[in-house]
Structure formats: structure tokens, C-alpha cells
């Protein structure tokens, strides 16, 4: 499942980073690099801690030891289980 669809309280591990061309306005390769630079790598533990008010967007995600804010749109590229 994509992290972008996860509810608050979801816990899991990242299985893959898979960027489809329409996932973001950034080039897929660039988005992938930025996600990796923020610690979204295969095997990392994630937990959705918080959601925004409107459209429950953006989300605050615990990635191993750090917390990262990200929009659901970009989080669609992060596959979790």
C-alpha cells in the first residue's frame, strides 16, 4: 500500500520507493532522491503520527528516529506494508 493512503496511527515498513511520473510535479528521479535524503529508504520503519485538518493533509511521519512532514501526494511514492 502507498504511505499516501495510510491513516493516522498506521505503522509499517517501507518496501519500495516507486515514483510514477504523475506523483509529483518534480521529475520522478528528483523526487526519489529527495525522499531518500529525508530517510525514506527500503526497510525503514514508519508511523503516521499526525494529519492536517483539510483533506487530512499533510501528514507527519515518524521515519526511524526522525519526524518528517510530507504531503500525501508525494507520500504516494512510498510503498509500505
Amino acid at each position: 500500500m502507498a504511505l499516501g493512503l495510510a491513516q493516522r496511527g498506521f505503522r509499517g515498513r517501507i518496501t519500495a520507493i516507486s515514483v510514477s511520473p504523475e506523483a509529483s510535479d518534480l521529475p520522478p528521479d528528483e523526487l526519489e532522491r529527495r525522499l531518500i535524503e529525508l530517510g525514506f529508504t527500503e526497510g525503514a520503519q514508519v508511523e503516521v503520527l499526525h494529519e492536517g485538518l483539510f483533506g487530512r493533509d499533510p501528514i507527519a511521519v515518524r521515519v526511524d528516529n526522525a519526524t518528517v512532514a510530507i504531503r500525501r501526494r508525494e507520500a504516494m511514492a512510498i510503498l509500505v506494508s
Binding site: 523526487l31 532522491r33 529525508l38 494529519e51 528516529n65 519526524t67
Partner: protein, 627 residues
């Protein structure tokens, strides 16, 4: 080491991920011996400071903008990359790179270290905030980490007394052995595969050298469950803003009165000390009141930056951006634009300066473009004067004062138009270019350190004063010139401004401003009002031949009520929401964007908005019988 190298200070550079406590470490190492300038050609702050190692070596320490990688994505990060790689023509390659990492959050920092190793410069890893890490039971095996990374690793607690002693001793050793030998850099843009491999390697080293208790920082988690709550979080954010505004307006007032009185006194002194004539007018009205009208905002700017820096150090600013992202995003603004726009309520100048926190150039330009639409405090004297003269002080809806409602309406109009303009700018200029994603690390909460915060406020104050002394000052002189030349002929009876270029301009544009209900007196007052909006109040007093300047606002109000129809008053109010009536703001826009184009664009669109809105207001008001 050669004799030359001995006398030249060594150059060490601080590099690190955002929130690594890099700036706190910089402050701790250099104290107040800091210099803030700009890198040539870009509006990125270059912070440097001198330090003396225990062994007597002088080191010039440069604080580079925070970055997750050398793969630069913003002007700030480009500076870091170019500096580290020695690509700046004006900057020598650093003799040592100090990579700063938050000891409680090593994953991303270690990946950066692995990337920095490829640069081929001497490298040292500083594990900052080691005190917090120890308190949380995080156990770091320094020897193992040193062995794994192949570079020296040292711990520090920048905010503790004596927390940098070990680091200082190590810097001393490294300074003694520093050489000019350059290893060729093997750094190149990493691919996604290389980034992944580096992260895996970093994770492996952490697994080998760091023992982390399974429990994360519970305080941050508990605070966030309230502060990031979808509803409660927004309510708290609004409450914080409310307190901030109260502080900016009420705490600053006594100080501002004091500064005003000081400059008035200085002006009076110059008036009596100098012989009547051009020099007297230049010193009194050009220099003293011109500079005074800008410096008077210093207390507000200091209080505003005190709040911003406190919230930033606390770790709350990233949360505010998180809470506001969707609301701002609807108008094409970045969540981070929130802070600069908020600052612009005090004054657009610090607001525009604060846009440096936005890393995407496009978002930054949009924010700069709309920042002057936020109702700054310089508009307040103008609003108050006209509202108290024209709007009856009666109660509406049973509880609200009509004057208060009008004031609120003026603020709201500014905010709504700012959102509208940014949405339009996005549509017009950046329809084709990608929307940058909102991705931001939310750091753990930390108690701000007074020393570090005060140092930041002091730096801002220095920058503001420097600007007031250069760019803004030259604008003031120009405006004084327009309002003073040519001199009135001998035996002239009217106020001197009636004979000046300003007056000529005021008359010349009267046919254009007639349509929005402005007479030539208003036009003339608008020109010195370019120095700072509230100067228009005193200028109106001058053109209506009322002595006493701004102290005499009540009397000026009476004169206006006598001379202007209500429709004109409303038109002037609306004009002030939009009009680019501030030379200093325009000067700062030019400086921050590095281009005349953006300054001209801001000036042009604001002028057009002001004219259209005033035109509509005036004609609707006349049609309703207020002409």
C-alpha cells in the same frame, strides 16, 4: 607550514543538516566575533567569525547554510556545495570541514558525512547535543564510529558551559597539522542508487556503533499530540500569533515613543544649531527625520524577531508550516511563507528578509511579491487618522465599534488580496513549472537558549540598521530633494513644499487622481509618504498649513474632515491597502531578489491594484451619496 600560512588565519567551515544545532555551535565557538555579509551575486547570508584555539591558532570559522546533501536544490544549498568544493572564485577552499550532527538523530547526518568524505578535504564529525542524547539513554561508541567512518569524531554540547572544550582542543591539534595539500575531489552528483547505498552504509554504522533505547522522545510526542492536533493545533497557533501581535504593538510602543522623541529632539537641536536655509532643512528633514522614520520600527522588529527566533529554536516554526501548509497552499504559497508574511504585519522589510527560510526560488519570489500587501504598522497612523476623522464612533451589531470594524476590514482586505495575488502570480508566471513539494523535518522540541536567541536578535538589528543607514537613507535623501526643490521664492507665504518638484508632480498627476477622488494636496502628501507611510500624516498637515507635524494628528483630522468628502477619505484608505507607498520596501525587494525587474513588477501591480480599488471605492461611495 610556511610563514605566510602562519599569519593567515585558517579557514574552517561548519556544515550540517538542518536542525543539527549548527548555528548554536557556531555561536558557542565564535561568541560575538561574528560577521554577516552576502556571498557575491546571491542573496545568501555568509556568516563567519573568528576563534582562537587554546594553542593560539586563529581560525576563521564559516557557518554554511544547512543541507542534507551537496546535491544543491536551493540557492542556499548551492552556496554550501560551491564553498565546500572550492568553486567560489573569491573564497579559498576550507582547510577543514566540521560536519555537525544531532547526536539524537544520526541517520541523515551520517549519509551526509559519507558524501562529504568524497570531497577530499580534511573532515571532522561533531556529535552535537550529546547531553540530550545521553539523557535519553543513547549510547554512542565513539571509537567504533571513528574506525567505521575513518575520520575523527568528537562530541559537543553547544549550549552547555564547557560543552565545546573537547572540540576546541581537537581543533587546536588539527590547526597545528593543517596543510595546504589538496586531495582531488571525487565528488559528483550521486544517483538514486548511490544515495540508497550510502544510506544503507550509514544505517549499518549506526547499528554497529549506536545503542538507542526503544522508546523515542516522549515529551515531543506528547506535545505534538496537542500542538499538531488538526483543530487544537490551529487554535493554539492562532493564540500564539495573537500574543505575538499584542507584544509587537503594545510592548514596542513606549520604546517607539522614546525613539520618536529622541529624533524630534535631535531635529529641534539641529533646527536651532544651524542657520535657517538649505543645510538646516537637509539635516533636519532629510537626514534626521528620514532616518528616524525608519529606526522607529527597530523595537517592533526586535520583538518580532525575538518571537520568531524563540519559536524557531523551540522547534515550533516547522510545526506552524505543517499546520498552515494546506491553507497557504490553496493560494499557491509554501507553508514556510507563513513566517515572512506574518512578520510583514510589523513591517514588510524584516518580512522580506525572512523569506530566506524558503528554499524554492519560485515560492520565495511569490512571497516577496505579496508581503507588502500585509498591513504593516506604518499604515496604522494613516488609518487611525482617517478613521477617527471620518468614521463615526458608534456601536454596530450590539457589541463592535464601527471604527474597529473598518480597521479590521482594512487588515482583512490586505490578507485576502495577498492570497489572491499569489494565486494569480502562480497562474501567470509559473503555470508550466512544477509545484515544489512540501517536505520538512519536524525537529524534536528543545528549550531555546537565551544567549543564542539574543545573538540572533542582535544580528538582525545590526542588519536592519545597516540597511537603514545605506539603501533606505539614500531613498530618504531623494524624497527630501523632491519635497524641497526648488526653494520657495523670497517672500513666499505658502508652505515651502508648495513650490517644490513634489508639488509640481502633485499638480501634474491631478487629472489622473481626480478619478479616484484625490485632490492635489493629497498627491503632494503622498510623495514624502514614500519615505515611510506614516510620514504622509505629517505631510498632510504641512500642505494644509497646520503647524506641529504628527503630534497634531487630531487637528489634522479636523482639517481633513473639513476639506474632504467621505468618498475621498474612503478612497485614501483603500489606496493605502494596496499602494506601493514605501521606498524602503522597494529597496529591500531590489536587494533581496537582486533584480530591478521584481521591484518594478511589485511597484506596478500594487499601483494598478490601488488605483482600481480606489476608483471603485470612490465611485461607489459617490453613487451612494458620500461625495
Amino acid at each position: 607550514m610556511t610563514a605566510v600560512a602562519e599569519s593567515e588565519p585558517l579557514r574552517f567551515a561548519l556544515i550540517g543538516t538542518p536542525n543539527s544545532g549548527k548555528t548554536a555551535l557556531f555561536n558557542a565557538l565564535t561568541g560575538s566575533r561574528q560577521k554577516v555579509a552576502n556571498y557575491p551575486g546571491v542573496t545568501v547570508e555568509r556568516k563567519s567569525g573568528m576563534l582562537q584555539t587554546p594553542g593560539g591558532h586563529s581560525v576563521n570559522l564559516i557557518d554554511l547554510p544547512g543541507t542534507y546533501s551537496l546535491r544543491a536544490r536551493s540557492p542556499d544549498e548551492e552556496v554550501t556545495r560551491d564553498f565546500v568544493l572550492g568553486r567560489f572564485a573569491s573564497e579559498a577552499t576550507p582547510d577543514l570541514l566540521l560536519c555537525v550532527a544531532d547526536a539524537t538523530n544520526l541517520r541523515l547526518a551520517l549519509r551526509l558525512v559519507l558524501e562529504l568524505k568524497r570531497v577530499g578535504r580534511p573532515l571532522l564529525l561533531v556529535l552535537n547535543m550529546i547531553d540530550i542524547a545521553r539523557r535519553r539513554g543513547i549510547d554512542i561508541d565513539l571509537d567504533r564510529m571513528t574506525a567505521e567512518l575513518g575520520i575523527p569524531v568528537i562530541t559537543a554540547a553547544a549550549v552547555r558551559r564547557g560543552g565545546t572544550d573537547d572540540l576546541m582542543r581537537r581543533l587546536d591539534e588539527l590547526a597545528a597539522t593543517a596543510t595546504d595539500a589538496h586531495e582531488a575531489t571525487s565528488w559528483k552528483q550521486p544517483t538514486t542508487g548511490e544515495l540508497r547505498a550510502a544510506q544503507r552504509e550509514a544505517d549499518r554504522i549506526i547499528a554497529a556503533a549506536v545503542k538507542t533505547p526503544s522508546k523515542p522522545d516522549t515529551l515531543t510526542t506528547r506535545l505534538d499530540s496537542v500542538l499538531l492536533h488538526p483543530v487544537a493545533g490551529l487554535v493554539i497557533l492562532l493564540a500564539i500569533l495573537f500574543v505575538m501581535f499584542q507584544a509587537v504593538f503594545t510592548w514596542a510602543q513606549p520604546l517607539m515613543d522614546l525613539i520618536n522623541a529622541g529624533f524630534d529632539g535631535l531635529g529641534a537641536l539641529a533646527h536651532t544649531a544651524l542657520p535657517e536655509g538649505l543645510l538646516q532643512s537637509f539635516v533636519e528633514n532629510g537626514i534626521i527625520s528620514g532616518v528616524g522614520s525608519v529606526i522607529v520600527f527597530l523595537p517592533q522588529i526586535l520583538i518580532l524577531f525575538l518571537f520568531i527566533l524563540l519559536l524557531e529554536d523551540l522547534g515550533y516554526m516547522a510545526r506552524a508550516a505543517f499546520l498552515m501548509d494546506r491553507i497557504m497552499g490553496g493560494a499557491g504559497l509554501h507553508g514556510r511563507a507563513f513566517i515572512p508574511l506574518l512578520s510583514s504585519f510589523a513591517c514588510a522589510i524584516p518580512g522580506i528578509m525572512a523569506t530566506r527560510v524558503i528554499d524554492n526560488p519560485r515560492d520565495r519570489l511569490t512571497t516577496i511579491l505579496v508581503a507588502p500587501l500585509m498591513t504593516c504598522s506604518a499604515r496604522i497612523p494613516v488609518y487611525t487618522l482617517i478613521i477617527s476623522a471620518f468614521i463615526p464612533n458608534k456601536t454596530v451589531w450590539g457589541f463592535a465599534s464601527l471604527q474597529g470594524v473598518v480597521m479590521f476590514g482594512l487588515y482583512a482586505a490586505g490578507i485576502v488580496s495577498a492570497l489572491g495575488v499569489s494565486a494569480l502570480a502562480k497562474f501567470l508566471f509559473w503555470r508550466e513549472s512544477p509545484t515544489p513539494p512540501f517536505m520538512l523535518e519536524l525537529p524534536d522540541y528543545k528549550l531555546p537558549r537565551p544567549r543564542s536567541v539574543l545573538m540572533g536578535v542582535y544580528t538582525r538589528a545590526k542588519m536592519f540598521l545597516h540597511r537603514a543607514g545605506t539603501t533606505i537613507f539614500s531613498m530618504m535623501v531623494l524624497i527630501w530633494f523632491l519635497a524641497s526643490f526648488p526653494r520657495p521664492p523670497a517672500g513666499a507665504t505658502g508652505p515651502a513644499i508648495d513650490y517644490s518638484i513634489a508639488s509640481w508632480l502633485g499638480h501634474a498627476i491631478e487629472p489622473v487622481t481626480k478619478a479616484i477622488g484625490f485632490n492635489w494636496q493629497i498627491n503632494v502628501a503622498l510623495i514624502p509618504g514614500m519615505a515611510a507611510r506614516e510620514v504622509a500624516v505629517a505631510a498632510l498637515g504641512t500642505v494644509y498649513a497646520i503647524e506641529g507635524g504628527k503630534e497634531n494628528a487630531a487637528q489634522i483630522g479636523q482639517a481633513l474632515a473639513h476639506h474632504w468628502p467621505l468618498a475621498t477619505a474612503l478612497s485614501v484608505l483603500v489606496w493605502y491597502i494596496f499602494a506601493p507607498q514605501c521606498a524602503s520596501t522597494l529597496a529591500v525587494i531590489k536587494r533581496e531578489t537582486g533584480s530591478w525587474k521584481w521591484m518594478a513588477l511589485t511597484f506596478g501591480y500594487m499601483l494598478a491594484l490601488a488605483y482600481i480599488a480606489s476608483f471603485a471605492t470612490y465611485h461607489v461611495a459617490v453613487a451612494l451619496g458620500a461625495g
